[in-house]
Symmetry: C2
Subunit: 219 residues, 2 copies
C-alpha cells in the first residue's frame, strides 16, 4: 500500500512526527563533523547532515544552519575566525558524532565531551577531528540567508584536504566507502554502504558501461 499525503496533511502532523517524516524523505545524506574555534581558543564540534558539493573550480562546499539550533555556535565561530573544518564520520565514531548534537554550553568543547580529538594541521586555524579518515579545511566564503524559513547556507572554499592514499583512484575519485565514510537518513539513522557500481559517462544512444575502480596505490 502507498501513503499519499498532501501539504495540508503534512502541516497537520505533530511537530516531531513531521520533522522525522520530512527529514527522511529527502534521501540519504552526508554525515560530517564541523570543527571550529572561537577567538578565546574554545573549540566546538557539531554534526551536520546537510553538507553539499557546490563546485569543483574553485572547490566549494556548503552546509545549512537552522535557526535557533545548537549549530549556531558553529556559525558564530566561523563568522569570528573565518575558518572551519569538515570531517567525515565512519563506523567507529558515529555514536560520538551523534552525541555532539546535545545542547552543551558554550564553555564545553564537544570534542572533549564526546571523546573525539581536536588536531591542528599545517597551520590551519581550525581544529580537525583526528579520528576522521577524510578531513577538509575551509575558508568561509559566503553566507546566504534563506528568507523563506530563516535557514542559512554557509559556503566555504577548500584550502586543505586530507584523505587515505589507498582510497584515491587514478581518475581522481576518492572511494569514500573504502575510507569507511557512512551515510545518514532522517535525523538519527546511520548507514554503511555497499557499492553497486560506478557507471561510465552517459551519452545518448550508448549502452551503460561500468567503471572498474583503479587505485593509485595497493593496500
Amino acid at each position: 500500500m502507498e501513503v499519499f499525503l498532501t501539504h495540508e496533511n503534512i502541516a497537520q502532523l505533530e511537530k516531531l512526527e513531521r520533522a522525522a517524516l520530512i527529514n527522511s524523505i529527502t534521501g540519504f545524506k552526508s554525515l560530517s563533523l564541523i570543527g571550529t574555534v572561537d577567538t578565546q581558543q574554545q573549540t566546538n564540534l557539531a554534526v551536520f547532515n546537510s553538507v553539499v558539493h557546490l563546485g569543483a573550480n574553485p572547490a566549494l562546499m556548503g552546509f545549512i544552519v537552522r535557526p535557533d539550533s545548537v549549530e549556531r555556535h558553529t556559525l558564530s565561530n566561523i563568522e569570528e575566525t573565518r575558518y572551519f573544518t569538515i570531517n567525515h564520520v565512519h563506523k567507529q565514531i558515529y555514536e560520538q558524532a551523534h552525541q555532539t548534537a546535545a545542547r552543551y554550553g558554550k564553555d564545553v568543547s564537544e570534542f572533549e565531551a564526546c571523546g573525539l580529538t581536536p588536531v591542528y594541521l599545517n597551520e590551519f586555524n581550525s581544529p580537525f577531528v583526528k579520528e576522521s579518515a577524510i578531513k577538509i579545511g575551509l575558508e568561509f566564503a559566503e553566507r546566504i540567508d534563506i528568507a523563506l524559513n530563516g535557514t542559512i547556507l554557509v559556503i566555504g572554499k577548500i584550502m586543505q584536504l586530507y584523505f587515505p592514499e589507498n582510497a584515491w583512484c587514478l581518475d581522481g575519485y576518492v572511494d569514500i566507502e573504502k575510507a569507511g565514510t557512512i551515510a545518514c537518513s532522517g535525523l538519527d539513522s546511520y548507514h554503511e554502504t555497499h557499492r553497486l557500481a560506478r557507471l561510465g559517462y552517459a551519452k545518448p544512444d550508448k549502452e551503460t558501461t561500468r567503471i572498474q575502480l583503479a587505485y593509485r596505490t595497493s593496500g
Copy 2:
C-alpha cells in the same frame, strides 16, 4: 599513508580529475530523478545528487543547478510551469537514472529514452516517475543565484508525497532503506545501504541510546 592537498594543488589538477576528487570528498549524497514538463507538454527527467532538506514547516527541499549543464532544461521548465517532482532512485532503476544525464536534445523525453514511465497523479502538474517508490510533488518557491560560481539553489515546497506504507514508522521516520532508496558518491558511484542503528535524541550527560524501528503496518 595520507594524501595532503592544498588549494593550490587542487587548482592545478586536470579538470576531470579535480571534478571527480571534489565531488567525492563531500560525502554520500541523495540520488533523485527530477521530473518536469514544459508548456508544450514535453516531459523532461534528470538525475540529481544535490537534493537537500531545507525545513519541515513549511516542508521545503532544495537542489543545486550547475551553470551550462543539461540540468538547465529542468530549471527552465520549473520556471515556466512552477512545479516539479523529486523521485527516489532504487537498485532496479539506477542505470536508467544515470542515463538521464546524457545530453539529449530538448525534443527528446529522457523518460522514453531511458525506459522510465511518466505518471500524473492527483492532478499534479508535473510527471512523477512511476517506478520510484518515493515520489514528491513540489511547487517552485525560490531561486537563489550563488554569485561565487554561478550555481543556482532551487527551492520547492512539498505539495504531494507518496511512499510505501510499510516503510513508515510510528514516530514519523520513513525507512528509505527498506523502500530501496540508494545513495550516491562522486559523480558516478552508486551504493546500497545497511543500517547501523537509529540513535536516540542526544542530551548532555546521557549515554547514547538506540531506537528500535516500529513500523505502522507489518509487511
